[in-house]
């Protein structure tokens, strides 16, 4: 299917309003008092892809199912193009949902599966047939229409599920961990393919995943969820470079997390060493400091005076060396605290060995400071 054909009958843009899908103060509280989702506020501009990222039980799937209408919200508003949908049943919401296990109807052929949503909309048979063929072409499965779902591989079923969800030209595309049942290689492929289709059709999409790589690589916006709340909402770069909490910095990517004492507004002490870092207005107290393992540069020990004043530079002793293939990980003792450092390998393998003393440097901006964990 050509992108323009799919777009043709999609709802018109909502002018300058940036929020096409808008969740306002959405809550899901179960009768036993459990707050699965609490005070959720998210706006997704039209044509963008929102990734909901979080550990299991964080409320991301509940959120997706509330958008779909499969779970009733306890309070709040769900709006698409300004129209309130919270009270609409799922079959009137006009959204496409790709389930984690695909949920292809086992008693129907691939073509019947894809055509189902068109039949529900009363699309004439001939037009429906054309659109089904176009949709199967779009997911690179032309000619598979007469097969049964169980005759397809996992990746193919995934594509059929995507075609079935998109052929109805939904206002919103919802993806519930669509890649988690695929093997690693196929997952990489589908990641690119889904993103390409999404961008071609410019369809507003919500993508639920527990995999940070998927969220960072595929999405325009990432919402990190934690215990039913939105911990942070931002671009992938925001989330990775400027995590607003210790939870986000630890959940997205790897990081070193060490105890530190605030010295003044711009300095903290870790063990016996003092580092430059923005303390976020704190003048005293105990904090957590983080720095990503690959942002620490290592070099053979040399005179500190030769080094740039702009960086944190400190001696560290190599405790362990772990060779992983594409990267090598050094565990270092820096001022009494343990840091992990990761470097890409070269054909020489690991450059340093256990027991060596090295110079460790990182930019103050790479060192983030957080208060107590919540």
């Amino acid at each position: 299917m050509t992108p323009s054909a799919l777009r043709e009958q999609s709802p018109a843009a909502v002018g300058s309003d940036p929020a096409y899908l808008s969740l306002t103060d959405v809550r899901k509280i179960y009768p036993n008092g459990y707050r699965a989702v609490d005070s959720l506020n998210i706006d997704v501009p039209e044509g963008q892809m929102l990734g909901l990222l979080g550990p299991s039980g964080c409320g991301k799937t509940t959120t997706l199912r509330m958008i779909a209408g499969l779970i009733e919200i306890s309070s709040g508003h769900i709006r698409v193009a300004g129209r309130e949908l919270a009270q609409e049943p799922p079959h009137k919401r006009d959204m496409g949902l790709v389930f984690q296990n695909y949920a292809l109807f086992p008693h129907m052929t691939v073509a019947e599966n894809v055509a189902f949503g068109l039949q529900m909309r009363g699309i004439p048979f001939r037009e429906a047939r054309t659109r089904v063929e176009e949709a199967l072409e779009m997911v690179r499965l032309p000619g598979y229409g007469s097969r049964k779902p169980k005759e397809l591989s996992g990746g193919q079923q995934q594509r059929v599920a995507l075609a079935r969800a998109l052929v109805i030209r939904p206002r919103i595309l919802l993806l519930d961990e669509p890649l988690s049942n695929l093997d690693a290689k196929l997952r990489d492929e589908m990641r690119v393919e889904i993103r390409e289709i999404q961008q071609r059709l410019k369809i507003t999409t919500v993508f639920v995943t527990h995999d940070q790589v998927e969220a960072l690589t595929m999405c325009d916006l990432v919402g990190v969820m934690h215990k039913g709340r939105l911990a942070q909402l931002g671009t992938p770069e925001d989330i990775y470079e400027r995590p607003n909490s210790l939870f986000v910095s630890e959940f997205v990517g790897r990081t070193n997390k060490v105890r530190a004492e605030v010295v003044d507004l711009n300095r903290i002490r870790i063990g016996s060493e003092v580092f430059s870092a923005d303390t976020g207005g704190r003048r005293e107290g105990t904090v957590w400091a983080t720095v990503r393992p690959h942002r620490i540069a290592l070099s053979p020990d040399r005179d500190r005076a030769l080094m740039s004043r702009q960086t944190n530079a400190v001696r560290g002793r190599v405790l362990r060396v772990t060779y992983i293939g594409d990267i090598v990980q050094y565990d270092l003792d820096i001022g009494g605290a343990e840091f992990k450092v990761e470097h890409h390998t070269t054909s020489q393998g690991a450059r340093y060995s256990g027991g060596q003393t090295l110079m460790c440097e990182w930019a103050p901006a790479d060192m983030l400071v957080y208060g107590e964990e919540t």
């Binding site: 779909a68 209408g69 499969l70 049943p89 799922p90 079959h91 009137k92 919401r93 006009d94 959204m95 496409g96 949902l97 389930f99 296990n101 949920a103 292809l104 109807f105 086992p106 008693h107 189902f116 949503g117 529900m120 909309r121 079935r164 969800a165 109805i168």
Partner: protein, 287 residues
């Protein structure tokens, strides 16, 4: 010198040895009597019912010459189909509910559903007679409530047989339905809803096709049980409902015409065979 067998051969021998007792019991109590039944249906009887050694097709010729036989076949098929459909309609919601209710309740409710099987069908039929009779509970209540002037006929007719048989068949149907519900996953209904299907469409486009194996199995079971039931039709039909099974009973027990009873039984068996063939043909489509 002892014979030595390979381990695989020993295992195979053991499997056959384990099957043997049941095979013997089945042969003696089922296969042999069926063969005997088939033989008797081709034997001539002297007036008074004494069996001879003379081979004959007479019993079958008599059966097919008698217009009453066709009425019996028609009645049996019609009533069994109505009972099967009625049982399906009554048991399907029960089975669907049991399949979906949370597991804590499921076992308890399941036992309650099949508990009528603890009481014999004969006793339950007498129970229905107490309820359905002209001076029974239902007519009594309706009359004392002033809703009807005289009793309505709820038994000694086909209606009574339907009521009694459907009630008796519900546990069997529910069991067979649940056994065939394996493919029914709520996620398919959710998927259909997301594609725009309302509750009614979801039911007949998704739930019914997915539960078809259970529906077919239950219908086959109930149909066969209905065709062969004779006590309930006799008691609740009040001698006015004539079926193949009641005819076999009359021929064998009342009139002592064993050879005719045997040939009628073989006809019933043929009907079972046809139902079975129909079932396998349809069921294959829903594999």
């Amino acid at each position: 010198m002892t014979m030595s067998l390979s381990r695989a051969a020993q295992r195979r021998l053991l499997l056959w040895a384990l099957l043997l007792p049941m095979a013997v019991v089945n042969f003696v109590t089922f296969i042999l009597p069926m063969l005997r039944l088939g033989m008797i249906s081709f034997i001539e009887a002297r007036p008074g019912g004494v069996l001879t050694d003379v081979f004959t097709f007479g019993n079958y010729i008599d059966f097919f010459r008698d217009p009453f036989s066709y009425k019996l076949i028609w009645n049996s098929l019609r009533m069994s189909l109505i009972v099967t459909l009625g049982t399906l309609v009554a048991a399907y919601p029960i089975a669907l509910f049991l399949y979906r209710v949370n597991p804590v309740w499921r076992n308890i409710l399941f036992v309650i559903t099949i508990s009528p099987l603890l009481v014999s069908a004969v006793v339950r039929t007498y129970g229905w007679m107490v309820l359905l009779g002209n001076k029974g509970l239902i007519n009594g209540l309706l009359m004392s409530a002033g809703l009807i002037d005289g009793p309505i006929r709820l038994m000694n007719n086909e209606l009574g047989v339907y009521i009694g048989l459907i009630e008796i068949m519900i546990p069997y149907m529910a069991l067979a339905l649940i056994a065939g519900f394996g493919r029914l996953d709520p996620v398919y209904e959710e998927a259909a809803a997301m594609l725009g299907a309302n509750a009614f469409t979801r039911f007949y486009r998704i739930i019914v096709p997915l539960t078809m194996p259970g529906i077919l199995l239950g219908c086959l079971l109930v149909f066969v049980l209905s065709v062969s039931s004779f006590i309930t039709p006799k008691l609740l039909g009040g001698g006015r409902v004539f079926l193949l099974a009641t005819e076999v009973y009359d021929q064998a027990i009342v009139r002592l015409e064993w050879t005719q009873a045997a040939s009628t039984s073989v006809i019933v068996l043929l009907i079972f065979g046809l139902a079975m063939m129909l079932y396998t043909r349809i069921a294959r489509r829903y594999e």
